[in-house]
Every structure is written in C-alpha cells, then in structure tokens.
C-alpha cells in the first residue's frame, strides 16, 4: 500500500457517491448535498490559509459575496447562461484578493484577521451603494427563466461536486509538492523558513489568492443556484464563521479535519432542526456546545484526537524520513512516529 492508496480510494468513493446521489436522495436531498459539498470546499480553502500558511482570515465572505454578484451581474448583462460566466467569479475575486493582499499583508496576526473582516465590510458597502447592483433589493438571475429547473438543480449539483473534488485533490497535490512543503515551513516557523531561502510573502500570496478565487467560485455557484443575491446574504459573516467552525472542530491543518467538521456541522443541524424539529436557536445552542466541548476535551480538533488515539492514517501528507538501518531497526522497535514528519 503506497501513500497514494488511501487518498485514491477516498476519491473513488467520493465520485461513486456523487454519481449515485441523485438516484438515492430526492430533490430536497440534492439541495442539501449541494450546500454541504460547497461548504466542504470553502472549509478546505480556509484551512489552506489558516492551517497551512498561518493566515487566519475572517474576511473570506468578501469573496463569496463578490463571486455571487459577479456571476449574476455578468449573466444578466451579457445575456449568457450563468454557467458560462462562472469563470469570471474566481477571476475577479483573485484579482481583488491580489490587489488587497498588497496592503493587508503588511498586517500581522490579529491585525490581519480583523482587517480582512473590515475589508469585507467595505466591499459589501461599496457594492451596496454602487449603482447597478440593485441596492437593498439585490439582483435576480434574469437568464434563469430560459432554464429548465430540474436540469438546473442537477447541473448545479454536478458543478458543486466537481468543484469540491477539484479543491480537495488540488490541495492534496499542492501539499505533496515542493511548494506545499515550503508553505508548511512558513506556517511552522516563518523566520527559519525565510533563513533557508523560502519566499514567505510569495507563499502566502499564492495561498491567499487561490483561497479567495476558490471562495469566489463557491459564491458564484451558490448564488447562481439561489437565483438571487443581496448584500446581506452574500457578504454574511456567517460564511466565514461556518468555515472556521468546521475547520477547528474537525482539526485545523489536516485534510481530514474539514471533512469530519462538515459532517458534524450538518449532522447537528439536521438532527436538531429536522429530526427533533426544534427551533433554529436550539440547533445553534447545540452547535455552540459542540464547539465548547470539543475545545475543552480535544483542543486540536476531532480528527487529530481520533487519529492519535487509534493510530490511523487517512489523507496524511506526512513525509516519511528515509529509514536508516540500525540495530534498533532490526529489533523492530523504532516507532514510526519518530520516523515521519507530522503535518
């Protein structure tokens, strides 16, 4: 079994599940799964930033909202089906992120986190007061009238699933590359990384632009499917709050964490809101309690907790050190945890 076996099996299972999903669950189920895979993708992107490059952004909702507006605005203006203008969302968001990084990157730690949030509020307010974006009432996707709704629902689901798969595979491959290794080094020790010739700024810049463009595409897909976008829903802080919740609950800095976190997040919601039919605030109380309990008993998140107790590996990107044959080796007493770099 090579290191690629488990990830490859996971990927195959994901594809099979995605293909089978429309036949297994009804239209409502597809709507829910659509939401889940998009959130999974966004959580992975936030994790790429915070967990692998140490940039704790509280402003990714900026790009979710911008992506939604770009998609609907472009589709309406160019009179094209929304699918064809989707690539514009990550393009615009990537450019805005690149431009904003030039000044946001001057700020460190908590200053950076709060400033990204303020940046998002500024962009939201500019979209709100700018003419042509519908002001309070938002924008409706006018080109949707020509589309058959059943086909639209399914098409959106495939696009979202494909996007989520691409994000996961992309991040996995990235972290296994030399660039990924240098990103990890930046997260672990910035000064040491710089001293061995790693361009810290460039690493962070790449991750920031990629995560922002990804969130832009996620926002584009999400609001294309909603057929409707307003400033309050698009630039909602709750987008990034959900990403943070999922990643930290699941285990920051691991690829498995966001998957586990997404399952917990939607599991709690479906359990309380639909199964027990309790009001929205009780579901949120349950969710908050999950966060509190996890941080009290497994402060590094659920996946690292389980992984270390059971000694299992899943989508590990740990690099094994070349084994050096020693006497201990012959006795079989070298534990693998000393012979690998945890990432």
């Amino acid at each position: 079994m090579t290191r690629w076996t488990l990830p490859a099996i996971t990927f195959a299972l994901f594809v099979v599940a995605a293909v089978a999903a429309p036949w297994l669950v009804g239209d409502g189920g597809i709507g829910l799964l659509f939401e889940i895979v998009l959130m999974l993708a966004m959580a992975q992107l936030w994790n790429l930033l915070a967990g692998y490059t140490g940039l704790v952004s509280m402003g990714l909702q900026c790009f979710v909202g911008l992506g939604g507006y770009v998609t609907i605005f472009a589709s309406n203006t160019l009179r094209l089906p929304p699918y064809w203008v989707l690539p514009l969302a990550p393009l615009v968001c990537g450019l805005v992120a690149a431009a904003s990084a030039i000044f946001l990157f001057r700020l460190r730690d908590a200053y950076f986190s709060i400033s990204t949030w303020v940046f998002s509020e500024v962009v939201a307010m500019l979209v709100f007061i700018a003419p042509g974006f519908g002001h309070v009432s938002g924008m409706t996707l006018e080109t949707a009238r020509a589309i058959d709704y059943e086909v639209f629902l399914l098409a959106n689901f495939w696009i979202a699933t494909g996007f989520a798969a691409a994000v996961m595979v992309g991040i996995y491959l990235l972290l296994n590359s030399a660039l990924g290794l240098s990103m990890l080094s930046v997260r672990d020790d910035e000064v040491a990384a710089a001293s061995i010739g790693i361009n810290v700024w460039r690493n962070r810049f790449i991750a920031y632009v990629a995560a922002s463009a990804g969130c832009g595409l996620a926002g584009g897909i999400s609001f294309m499917a909603a057929l409707f976008v307003t400033v309050t829903t698009a630039f909602d802080l709750n987008w990034v709050v959900a990403m943070i919740f999922i990643v930290i609950i699941g285990g920051i800095g691991t690829l498995e964490g966001p998957i586990v976190g997404t399952i917990v997040y939607y599991g709690v919601r479906e359990l309380f809101a639909n199964l027990f039919a309790l009001s929205g605030s009780w579901y949120l109380i349950a969710l908050g309690s999950v966060a509190v309990l996890t941080m009290l008993f497994a402060p590094r998140g659920i996946w690292p907790f389980v992984r270390d107790r059971l000694g299992v590996e899943w989508l590990s990107i740990a690099r094994k050190l070349p084994t050096i044959a020693t006497e201990d080796d012959a006795k079989g007493s070298v534990s693998t945890s000393h012979g690998s770099l945890r990432a």
Partner: protein
C-alpha cells in the same frame, strides 16, 4: 455649526465605542485571547440592567452601573474559571478563540429563547432625551455622561494596574506567565479576575447602550466588529489607544453619515484602514 455639532457628537459616540473595546483590549493584553464572547456580553448586560431596573423601578438609571458591574464581574470570573482557562493549555490561540465563539453562540441563542427578539428598552423617564445647549450646538446629556464615565473607568483601570498589588500581579502575568508561578501566583486565577474586569467594563458598555437605544439579543454581535476595530486601531492591549480609536471611529461614522446618509459604517471602516496602514501596530502598539 452643523459640522461642529457632528464632530462633537462623534466624539461622544466614540466614548461608547471606547467602552466597547476596552474590555477586549484588557483581556487580549493579559491573556492573548481574542474574545468573541465580548459582543454577547454587552447585550447580556443590557438585559441584566433591564432585569435590575424592573426590580428597582425608582432608582436613577445611572445607579444601575454598580449592580450591573458586580453581576458582570461575577459572570466573567466564572466563565473564565470554568471554561476558558481549560482551553488555554495549548499554545495555539485558536482553541480559546473557538471556545469563546461557541460560548457566544450559546449565550446569544439562550437570550433569544429567554427574552425573544423584539427590541427592548429600559424605562428611565426623560433622562435619555435631556440635552444642553452650548453655543447653539445641542449636546445630549447621556452621551456626555457616557464619555465621562468612560474616562473615569479608563483612569481607574490605569490606576489599578499601575498602583495596586493586584495590578502589579496582572502586569507581571501578562509579561511572563511562567515566571510569576515561581512567585506563588497562579496565572489561571489572574486570568479569571482579568476576565471579570473585562466583563464588568462590557457591562457598563451594555448599560450605556441600553439607556441610549433599544436592544435585542443581536445588539452585541452587531457591535463586535466596532469593538475589534477600536482595539486594533489603538494597538492591541492599549487602553488609551482604544479610547482614541473609539473617538476616531465615532467621528468618522457621524461625519460619513452626513456626507452620504446611506454609507453606514463605510467611512469609519476607511478611517480604520488608513490608521492601520500608517501604523501597522496601532496608535499605541509600539511596545511589542
């Protein structure tokens, strides 16, 4: 004259914003925790004040400051002792952040279940409407009292930290929590006291907010960003910086609203960016 009035009212509003931020600044300065719960606590204090004012209907609204501060201190102490201290064992600052975030969601939604989402207000006679006329500029008494109270609290806090034994212990713990252990200080107890102080300050902010306007369980989270901006602008952990930051934001917001009534908090946010870009460590943040 209109502009002078706008600026003066902005400064007074800044007193309230400074109050929002100072508790956060205190906790961050000592424990390095980004306390997401702070906003919820401002809202909860407003409800505590409402509760006390129904029990004591004839008391002057400003007398509520004392019981609200005591109740808030106790709650802050207990929350830190029971929960937050336990999450501070790892060096990672994200664990306490998510913990306070979880507590904030729980608190907000329990408030929704208990008090509902309809706007409430504290019945207080005509105190909130009183205003004085200074050279043709109308100045509200309540905002004036808020700013004065903020200044008094800031000075008191500074004196406590500089001149008293507990203040020295708090500063020593902030500097090096390992070394104070050698002197017989338990950092977690200090953190609990500091969180109590922080909540007491948030309690005053919540009370002043409740006297000024109607409030709901969402009143805190809506002002969380202002609180953070105040702290970051001032330089994390700096109290006078927080005060100045609050005033800058208050003036920018009211002047901005006069330029464009639809701009909301836009101009204040832009001022925030200008300040933070010119001084990446905040107004008073050079000490790091």
């Amino acid at each position: 004259m209109v502009w002078i009035g706008t600026v003066i009212n902005g400064v007074l509003l800044g007193g309230l914003y400074g109050l929002f931020g100072v508790g956060l600044a205190l906790v961050f300065g000592v424990t390095r925790i980004v306390n997401i719960m702070h906003g919820e606590f401002i809202a909860l204090s407003a409800f505590i004040a409402l509760g006390i004012s129904t029990v004591l209907p004839n008391a002057h609204p400003l007398l509520l400051v004392v019981p609200v501060m005591i109740a808030s201190f106790a709650l802050g102490y207990v929350l830190q002792a029971l929960f937050v201290n336990r999450s501070m064992r790892l060096p990672d600052p994200l664990a306490p952040l998510l913990l306070t975030f979880g507590l904030s969601i729980v608190t907000r939604n329990l408030m929704i279940e208990a008090f509902g989402v309809n706007p409430r207000s504290i019945h207080q006679g005509d105190f909130a409407q009183l205003s004085i006329d200074v050279c043709g500029v109308q100045i509200g008494v309540l905002p004036l009292v808020t700013l004065a109270l903020a200044v008094v609290l800031f000075v008191t806090l500074q004196l406590v930290l500089r001149r008293t034994k507990i203040g020295r212990i708090v500063r020593a713990t902030a500097d090096n929590s390992e070394v104070v252990r050698l002197m017989g200080v338990r950092p977690s107890s200090v953190y609990s006291i500091v969180m109590g102080f922080s909540f007491a300050l948030a309690g005053v902010a919540g009370l002043m907010l409740a006297l000024r306007t109607t409030f709901t369980p969402f009143s805190g989270v809506e002002r969380l960003l202002i609180s953070f901006e105040v702290v970051v602008m001032g330089g994390l952990g700096s109290f006078w910086g927080a005060m100045l930051g609050g005033i800058a934001l208050g003036v920018a917001q009211l002047v901005g609203l006069r330029i464009n009534p639809n701009s909301g908090f836009l101009y204040a946010n832009l001022v925030f960016f200008v300040v933070v870009l010119l001084r990446p460590n905040g107004l008073f943040g050079a000490r790091q």
